[in-house]
């Protein structure tokens, strides 16, 4: 396949995605107008679009978006630093792995958000609480996928390192870590999903800062178009972080 054909295929795929999204929104609009969907539960998409400029001006959305994005960024950095390190420890020490792997996997399914009162006691009603809950919620997949990726490194690559007398540190930096990167990025993306859900959820629950608080306030005012408009900004946060993670992954794991 030539580069031109690939570009054309990618363009068609993107256009199909955009057309599908517009078609879905249009279908919802039609179904609501035809009274198939109750407009007191789901507002008209056209009303949501019209509400976006209003909430940007009146509700200071961009500042709230920046606040949520900052919390997600801190949680992501913590996930990458601590999660990858713990995953590496789990890989390195078999006893630790046998002792903890099941617990860590079980923790991935735990509804961490329900522990917010405990976090409030420890960190107070602050952005730190929100970041720490996001971090705790996203930690398990990063640990597990890091450990899994390191363990899946092909023995022959490790043997190449051994034959060249690499130190354990070089072996990790030059062979194990690069080999495990695709799996680590899967863990980071999963962790990011869990972190983001929990960050917005806790903002909503404790009514503190960010888009979650705005959604809470707008919902309590029964401003449904505004609420859904704010949810669009949460989706935008998710899209931005996914895009950045994808770019980072492409830069760090070229053409495998």
């Amino acid at each position: 396949m030539t580069a031109r054909t690939v570009r054309a295929a990618n363009g068609i795929a993107r256009a199909t995605g955009a057309i599908s999204l517009i078609a879905a929104i249009a279908a919802i609009e039609v179904l609501i107008r035809a009274a198939v969907i109750n407009r007191f539960i789901v507002p008209l998409p056209s009303e949501i679009i019209a509400a976006i400029p209003r909430i940007v001006v009146e509700e200071n959305v961009l500042h709230r978006f920046a606040q949520t994005a900052q919390e997600v960024l801190w949680a992501s950095l913590l996930l990458a630093a601590v999660g990858i390190m713990l995953g590496a420890l789990l890989y390195r020490f078999r006893l630790l792995r046998l002792a903890c792997e099941t617990w860590v996997a079980a923790f991935a399914a735990a509804p961490v958000v329900l522990m917010y009162p405990l976090f409030l006691v420890i960190f107070g009603r602050s952005a730190t609480t929100i970041v720490m809950i996001g971090f705790a919620a996203g930690l398990a997949p990063v640990i597990l996928k890091t450990s899994e990726g390191l363990a899946a490194t092909r023995q022959v690559l490790i043997d190449v390192g051994r034959s060249l007398k690499l130190t354990p540190r070089q072996q990790f930096q030059k062979i194990l870590l690069p080999a495990a990167l695709p799996s680590i990025f899967v863990g980071l993306r999963l962790g990011l999903i869990f972190a983001m859900i929990n960050i917005v959820g806790v903002e909503f629950l404790i009514n503190f800062g960010g888009l979650g608080q705005l959604i809470n306030e707008l919902a309590e005012r029964y401003d449904l178009p505004g609420t859904y408009g704010a949810i669009c900004f949460v989706i935008l946060t998710s899209v931005v972080f996914f895009y950045l993670t994808e770019r980072l992954e492409r830069w760090m794991t070229p053409r495998r």
Binding site: R154, V156, L157, D159, V160, R162, S163, L164, K165, L166, Q170, K174, I175, P178, A179, L181, T253, P254, R255, R256
Partner: protein
């Protein structure tokens, strides 16, 4: 060793690589298995030696012992008289399995050992480019392994090992996964490199043609436990290339080695079959 072989050994001079009475046993659920037993041979500087044997004769175990990847064996491995324990910078290894780093370009793969050795970026790129050219991959320096064929990837692995400038190049069936024609042509390339660098090479293989095409000597191993059955000196002219396979002498050597191997290979097949049947009964 026969008197003839002893005389030939003396003519080759003191061995650079010595393998003395090496045996290795593995513990399995069915009890201990002797993989190789009492293997001794030497490889002189600049010599190309192949070890050939049927599947399951312990060739790869011997490769790993000489390369220092497997310990806890009886006997001794020495390089230039110095006993080797573990991996040794004088021994470079090329593996049977595809072993290039998929996240590095061809040039960065080849420069890997130089990078580990702390060579400056400019110098290591220059030296790596030299070895890339040596294996015939000029123009592919910026490509990633995923963009190359299997034979090209094995050449990258070969260049990476050559770049570490080992005194002994140890290869474990590096072209086993390739088709016969590619294998013959890559054999030419290896021979050319060996003749240019006067590189000491030890090749582990199960391919008769490859062993005779490339080697000065072929060591024939028995089926499990692997023992050294016979040493065949290959008296074919140098410089040599894949044209040699059409000569009568070549065919004679292949037939001679196959004569020794046939009974052992049959024993291996029978052993495999009886193991499968026993497993089914159990």
């Amino acid at each position: 060793m026969s008197p003839g072989e002893t005389a030939a050994s003396e003519a080759r001079g003191a061995p650079l690589l010595e393998v003395e009475r090496v045996s290795k046993r593995f513990a399995t659920t069915d009890g201990a298995i002797t993989a190789i037993h009492d293997i001794s041979f030497g490889v002189a500087a600049g010599e190309f030696v192949s070890i050939i044997g049927p599947s399951g004769c312990g060739k790869s175990t011997l490769f790993n012992i000489i390369g220092g990847l497997v310990g806890d064996y009886d006997g001794r491995v020495a390089v230039a008289g110095e006993t080797v324990a573990g991996t040794h910078p004088a021994i470079g290894m090329v593996f049977q399995e595809e072993s290039t780093f998929p996240w590095r370009t061809v040039l960065d793969n080849v420069a890997f050992s130089l990078e580990i050795g702390g060579v400056s970026k400019a110098e290591r790129q220059e030296r790596a480019a030299h070895f890339v050219a040596m294996v015939g991959l000029s123009g592919f320096e910026r490509r990633y392994p995923a963009e190359l064929s299997g034979g090209m990837r094995q050449r990258v692995a070969l260049a990476r090992t050559l770049a570490s400038e080992p005194r002994i190049l140890l290869m474990d069936e590096p072209f086993a996964a390739l088709d016969e024609q590619t294998r013959l042509l890559l054999g030419d390339r290896v021979l050319q490199i060996q003749q240019d660098l006067r590189q000491t090479m030890l090749l582990i293989t199960h391919n008769l043609t490859e062993a005779v095409q490339l080697s000065d000597r072929v060591l024939v191993m028995s089926y499990r436990p692997g023992r050294l059955m016979r040493v065949v000196d290959i008296d074919l002219p140098h410089p040599r290339d894949s044209e040699v396979v059409s000569s009568d002498t070549f065919g004679h050597y292949v037939a001679e080695i196959w004569h020794d191997l046939r009974a052992e290979a049959s024993r291996g097949i029978r052993d495999d079959e009886s193991r499968v049947l026993e497993g089914r009964r159990a």
